[in-house]
Assembly symmetry: C2
Homo-oligomer: 198 residues x 2
C-alpha cells in the first residue's frame, strides 16, 4: 500500500511511520521536514501535496494543534488556532484527498480524550476533537468507492511526561497502543469508528 | 431573571421566548429583528450586544447555521460556513458573555442529533454540533462564579416538515419537548450536560 503520513516527524507520527515502513510504501509529510512539506492550514498547500502524491491507499494525519489556555480570557483569535490547524487541517485533507484516494482506501484522523473527558485550559481542543469525531462519523456514510474514515482518539501518552500534570489521574497509554490504533484503522475493514485509546 | 435569547425570532427561539415571557424579563436578539440586532458571526457585534445588555442571568442561543451539501464536492469555504456561524457564533457568545453573566447565571447553546446520528449531506453540521457539545463539557469546568453551561441537542422537530425527508426514520420531537430542554437548562442546577431531545 501507498501510505501518506501527515505529521510523520512528530512523536507519534514517527512511530506510526516506522510501523508501516517494512511492508508498505510510506510517504512522510511534515511542515518542515519529511519527504514532502505541506502546511495543513492552507488548502492550497494541501492541493499541491496531492498534486505531487497523486493516488494513494491510506492517509494518516497525526498533525495539527490548538490553543491551550484558560477559558476566562480566551479570545476568538485564540480559539481559531485549533479550528484552523487541527480541525480544518484534517477536514481539508479529507475533502481534497477524497479525489485522490484509491478505491477501498482509507483516511485516519486524530482527535483526543478531552472531547469527552475535559481538562482545564483545553476548551479549544475539546471542541476541535469533538468536531473531528463527529465529522468522521458523518463523512463515513458519504465517501465513494468504499473509501473509509476513522479517528484515533488517544489519552495522554506515556512518552509525554511534560503533559502529565495537565492530566491528573488519567491513565497513561503506551505508544504501541496508540500506533496499533492507526494500524487497526488502516488495515481493518471498518469505517466511521472513533478508536478510543483509553 | 433577565434572559437573553439569541435567535429569538426563529421557529424554536420564538417558542422558547414565549415560554419564559410571563415570569422573566426576556431580551429578544435577532439578526434583523427582535429587541436588539446582532450578527453572531462578528465578535465585534457580540461585544456591542453585551455593551447594550450589560449584566444578565441566562443566555440562550437558538441561532446559527451551517453548510448543507454532499461531501463529494464540499470545499473549505463551504465547510467554514458552519464554523463561522453555528460554532464560533455560539463559542463567542460564551467567551464574551462570561464577562457579563451574573453569579449563578447560565448559558444554553444548541447543537443537534447529527453529531452522533449522521444524515447525508450534513458532514459540516455534524462536525459543528460535535464541537459545540464538547466545548460545553469543557467550558463547564472553567466558568467562574457558579455560572453554568449546557447544550440542547434536538432531533428533527415536528414543526419542520420540509426537513422530514432528510431524516428518514428519525422520530420527530415536539416543539414543547425542545422548549422544555431549554427550560431544564436555565432553571435547573446542572452544568456541562448535553440535553438530548431524542
Amino acid at each position: 500500500m501507498k501510505i501518506v503520513i501527515v505529521g510523520a516527524t512528530g512523536t507519534i507520527g514517527k512511530e506510526v511511520s516506522r510501523s508501516f515502513d517494512n511492508e508498505h510504501e510510506v510517504i512522510r509529510v511534515g511542515s518542515k521536514s519529511g519527504d514532502i512539506q505541506a502546511d495543513i492550514q492552507s488548502p492550497e498547500s494541501i492541493e499541491r501535496l496531492f498534486d505531487q502524491i497523486q493516488e494513494f491507499d491510506a492517509l494518516i494525519c497525526t498533525a495539527g494543534n490548538g490553543h491551550f489556555g484558560p477559558l476566562s480570557n480566551m479570545t476568538d483569535r485564540e480559539f481559531r488556532k485549533g479550528i484552523n490547524s487541527k480541525l480544518l487541517g484534517q477536514v481539508n485533507l479529507l475533502l481534497i484527498g477524497q479525489h485522490y484516494v484509491n478505491p477501498n482506501g482509507s483516511f485516519t484522523l486524530t482527535s483526543g480524550i478531552v472531547w469527552e473527558e475535559p481538562i482545564l485550559n483545553a476548551a479549544n481542543l475539546s471542541a476541535v476533537n469533538g468536531a473531528i469525531n463527529s465529522f468522521a462519523i458523518a463523512a463515513a456514510i458519504e465517501l465513494k468507492n468504499n473509501a473509509r474514515i476513522n479517528v484515533v482518539c488517544p489519552s495522554i501518552c506515556e512518552n509525554s511526561p511534560e503533559m502529565f500534570d495537565l492530566f491528573p489521574g488519567y491513565e497513561k497509554v503506551t505508544t504501541d497502543r496508540i500506533v496499533n490504533g492507526y494500524r487497526k484503522s488502516v488495515l481493518g475493514p471498518f469505517t466511521g469508528k472513533i478508536i478510543r485509546i483509553y
